[in-house]
Symmetry: C2
């Protein structure tokens, strides 16, 4: 297609009339579509129905070491579950704690602990102008936690290698900067995986704050869409090489492996950092739901089983991603008014429309019956400084709906751009 940038004003006007007619036509269809929510469809959920048959009277309720999962105790998770996540994260089992159904809660609790106890220095609440680094576009719930706790959120731009590490290295010289949020693999929403160099530069950070923590949310660690998935360098190994292993805290969960509502989550850290966390947890936790731990490890005993499960997920999700990308290719490529990512995994596609147009695209979609993730949500404070980024969550709608939705979105993107250009 011909770039809008090379068109004369007359040509743009003609194009606008065409697109407008197309948009008005779509509106008459009275669609009701939703691409806002990064959650699995019910066909994905069905893949784990058999998990709910375990454990039972026949299987018994004991772990391999004889722990009674029905009773109290075992604050850090059953051995089988810790081993499973150790395999997933490629970290030693003794660095891993397995918790309840939400890694987000584990993260909130770590930041809360920083606030009222700190991590070896004074509690963060006593640091009046505390700051947190937020690679963006990123995950709104990460940003919201640190906003809730009164941190100033510093936006760090990202590209296909991850966060702008020059900027990160510069900011950590400030001792009031206490940490950074990262989704290092198939990041939310870009779908990009941090490059080896980015991971090494994280390991080699020399923050002025001794209690600086990297919140390494490996939410999509096994979430490949293709046989050949991205490879993420092991941050813990890199940290061990240079003695910075107390800095990162690792998170993962089975939310998009088994069930978002009833999965299990984990957290991992160096012995020293983990000890600080355990010193809080021993007051907060008697034990996680060990039955659900056992349920999971009976259903998915090892990484091999997890990968087989993820292949089944990919077979359902991949066509949805491709349906979106096909529509974008057909409707937007060459126009020079939008760029989008083509992830090898994860849950999102990131679309960048012409600067100053994203909010308008959101409005146009809404009028035409398509709900998008709140425009701006991928930036700190929910404000995209370029008004450009749109997070696309293709997993929840049916494959039929997703194609329609991507078509509506494409038309809206052209509409909004032309409004501005004409």
């Amino acid at each position: 297609m011909i770039s809008y940038k090379s068109m004369t004003n007359e040509e743009l006007k003609r194009e606008f009339n065409t697109v407008k007619a197309e948009y008005e036509n779509i509106k008459t269809l009275n669609l009701s579509l939703d691409m806002s929510r990064g959650k699995p469809g019910s066909d994905n959920l069905d893949l784990s129905n058999d998990m709910l048959l375990f454990p039972n009277k026949e299987s018994g309720f004991l772990t391999e070491n004889g722990t009674e999962t029905r009773n109290y105790g075992g604050p850090y998770g059953i051995d089988e579950a810790r081993r499973l996540f150790a395999e997933i994260l490629e970290m030693p089992e003794e660095t891993v704690i397995v918790g309840g159904n939400a890694s987000l809660t584990l993260m909130f609790d770590v930041i809360a602990q920083g606030m009222y106890k700190g991590f070896g220095d004074k509690p963060w609440i006593f640091e009046e102008k505390r700051k947190f680094l937020c690679p963006a576009p990123g995950y709104d719930r990460h940003f919201a936690i640190t906003e809730y706790f009164g941190f100033e959120l510093i936006t760090i731009p990202t590209d296909e290698n991850g966060p702008d590490m020059d900027m990160v290295e510069e900011y950590v010289k400030d001792s009031t900067v206490k940490g950074i949020w990262c989704v290092p693999k198939y990041s939310n929403p870009n779908g990009t995986t941090f490059s080896d160099e980015t991971v090494r530069r994280f390991a080699n950070l020399k923050p002025a704050a001794k209690d600086f923590r990297i919140m390494w949310d490996n939410a999509y660690v096994v979430h490949d869409l293709y046989d050949e998935g991205d490879k993420l360098l092991n941050l813990y190994d890199e940290c061990l090489k240079v003695g910075s292993q107390d800095m990162p805290i690792f998170f993962a969960s089975t939310s998009k492996v088994t069930l978002p509502g009833a999965g299990i989550s984990c957290m991992a850290a160096s012995p020293k950092t983990l000890e600080m966390i355990k010193n809080r947890m021993k007051y907060q936790v008697i034990g996680p739901d060990k039955i659900n731990h056992l349920r999971h490890t009976m259903f998915l005993p090892d990484l091999k089983a997890v990968k087989e499960q993820m292949k089944k997920h990919a077979e359902i999700i991949r066509p949805k991603f491709e349906a979106v990308l096909d529509e974008f290719d057909a409707n937007l490529s060459g126009l020079e008014i939008a760029r989008w990512t083509k992830p090898n995994g994860g849950y999102f596609i990131s679309l960048n429309v012409m600067e100053g147009c994203a909010k308008r695209v959101g409005e146009l979609c809404k009028e035409a019956g398509l709900v998008l993730t709140n425009v701006g949500a991928t930036y700190p404070y929910g404000k995209d400084p370029y008004d450009s980024n749109i997070r696309i969550a293709p997993t929840y709608p049916s494959i039929e709906d997703i194609g329609k939705a991507a078509k509506v979105l494409s038309v809206a993107v052209r509409y909004a751009a032309l409004e501005k250009l004409v």
Copy 2:
């Protein structure tokens, strides 16, 4: 039996020799008994095995209002579960939030929130000499949470009516006193239920601290041992009468109704206090394990079903309580060296031995192969000022073992008293 207090020194010496011989004889039996842990036995756990069959493909995974329990969302619990706990607590459904498997975690998180956000006043962490009232003997994990957060723990003596309310009313005049821990029904470890007057005096407290909170842990709300259970006055209703409803926060769980490791928990509060809590939870929680909520409400749809389940529990537990009390009656009554409670419900019997003897009793039991709850644990900082209280947890051992254990304990109580008296 003849009171030790009326014996001559000669008689005491003879008695000591008899008891000593009996104790030495017990030691030769090489017993291995444990009365330390307030947890159900496996026969109690078996009562909930069928719960684990739900939900399943046949039942489906939707709540009554169509919520998909397998997916994300619903931070405050499914409607069925909120209604169940509303019925249990005799409070309006809209005051209730249902969480994960541990009410202790809900309590920790409330105190943590007080520390970093406060409840309408400045965060508690900025109150340098903050204090918390601890009716004792009480639950060590309650005390430990406030100790962890740097509160000075104020011991409030208790009797058969609950905490010493004169003292509570006096202490709350101090604005640095931020709250009080309560187990109002079948309290841990006394097994007593707060009298109506005590509950009314709680409702009528006028604390200097506007952010004073009553942590009302109704852990044993439905845990009757006999058909005729204790009746606890409804604190929320009493508070509504006088406008103090923002003060208490209510907690309960199914830990000892279904499974301690995999139950569900709840928290309830006035609209205003609940709003403060929800304002934190919306950052911390995406949703509790809704499958486990549904699993519970399919198994126990209402209070009637809960009460039937509790009757089955009582049939298992009651004989264990009675075995302990029978041994005490046979071996200790009339000696004037010990007093003990005879609870109508709950999980514990509280034994008060001669002042200055409890630690020694613990040692003697240990040497004879019987593990007790750490002596002193029922008091703030783990220190019983009278060295007198011993918490007895009769539920976990078998009925055979529990009789033996109570016998060993009785002999140790006599031994320790005689050592002192001779």
